[in-house]
C-alpha cells in the first residue's frame, strides 16, 4: 500500500491492490537505465505530498515484461492514472511540470 505523500515501489500484485482500494492511482512505469524516468521520478516525488488523496506508485517494467505487454507500454517512462478503478490517463514521455499538475488536478476533480 502506498504511504500517503510518498511514491511506493510496487509489483503488479501491489498495483492491483492499489487500484482496488484507492480512488486515485498514478503509476510511473520506469526502468533503471532510462534517464528520463529518473527526471519524472523526481517530479512525482516532489508532487506526491501535494496530492495526499492520490496513491503514487512506481513499477520497474524491466522486471515484469508481461505487465508491460498487458498495459501496452511501448516507451519509457509512461505514466498511467486510474480513477475509481478505471484507467483514465496515459502519458508517454516526460510531461512538463504544468502538464503534470493539470493532469493530477483533473484526475482528482474530474468525474
Amino acid at each position: 500500500m502506498s504511504a500517503q505523500g510518498a511514491v511506493a515501489c510496487v509489483d503488479p500484485d501491489g498495483l492491483s491492490d492499489l487500484i482496488r482500494n484507492r480512488s486515485y492511482v498514478v503509476l510511473d512505469c520506469w526502468a533503471p537505465w532510462c534517464a528520463p524516468c529518473h527526471i519524472l521520478g523526481a517530479m512525482l516525488r516532489d508532487l506526491a505530498p501535494k496530492y495526499p488523496e492520490v496513491a503514487f506508485a512506481r513499477l520497474n517494467v524491466q522486471a515484469y515484461p508481461e505487465f508491460q505487454e498487458r498495459l501496452e507500454i511501448y516507451g519509457l517512462p509512461t505514466l498511467l492514472a486510474w480513477r475509481k478503478g478505471k484507467l483514465v490517463y496515459r502519458v508517454p514521455g516526460v510531461p512538463d511540470w504544468r502538464t503534470l499538475k493539470s493532469m493530477l488536478d483533473e484526475l482528482v476533480t474530474g468525474e
Binding site: 528520463p36 529518473h38 523526481a42 496515459r90
Partner: protein
Amino acid sequence: MRRGAVISVPGLGYTSMARCSPRFLMELFNYSPRGVMHFPPPRTPEEAWRRTFGGLGRSLGRLGVEIVAINPPGGSPRGLAAELAEVERGIMGALGRSLPIASVNSIAYSAAPPACDEVGLVDGFLSRIFRSLDEYMIISPFGDRVGDDFEEYGIYLSSVERPSHEDVIAPEQVPDLVAELAARVARGRHRWQRPAPRAEGVNFLPIGHRPWSTSGGYGPSPWSAA
C-alpha cells in the same frame, strides 16, 4: 587534435535537474546521447574518483593521449564558485594538447542537496566549457544527497554512446568509454554529429489538445523517451 573533456560532478543527479531545470543541462539532455550511472555504496567523492577513473591507465593503453587530472577529491575546501573557477581554468588550459579529466567536489561534500542557485552555477560552468569542446563526457557517478548517503543513480551525458541501451553504466565501465573518447580526440574521429538543439519554448502540442490520452494512444510529449 580534437578538443575533449571529461567532467564529473558527484552529487548532482537527475533529481536536481528535475527540481531546478538548469537550462544548459536540460538542453543537452534533450539532444545528447545519455544514460544512467549506477554506483553501489560506499558513495563518497573519493570513491567516485577511484572507481570511475582508477582503471584509466589500463583502458587508455597506447593511445598516446596525455591525461590531465584536474581537481581530484581530497583538496582543501574552497566553496563551489571558487572551485568551479579553478577547474574551468584548468580545463581550458589543457584543451587541445591533452585530455582533461576533472571533478567538481563541493556539491558532494555538502551536507545537503544542492540549492538551485548552486545547480545554476554548475550549469553555467558546463555551458562555458562545452562551447570549446568537440567531444565531451559529463557524469555524476551518483546522484543527489539523501541524508548521509546519495542516490544510487547518476547522470551520463556524452558524445560517446552508452555501451548498452537497456542497462545502467557501472563506474568500472567508464574507463573504456573515456578511452573511446580519447581515441576520437587523438584521431580526429567524429562518429556522432550533434544535431541542432530545439528552439526554447517551442510547444509541440497542438493547441487545444490535451497532452495526455485516455484511449491508449500516444500523445505528443515535450521530451522523448530514452
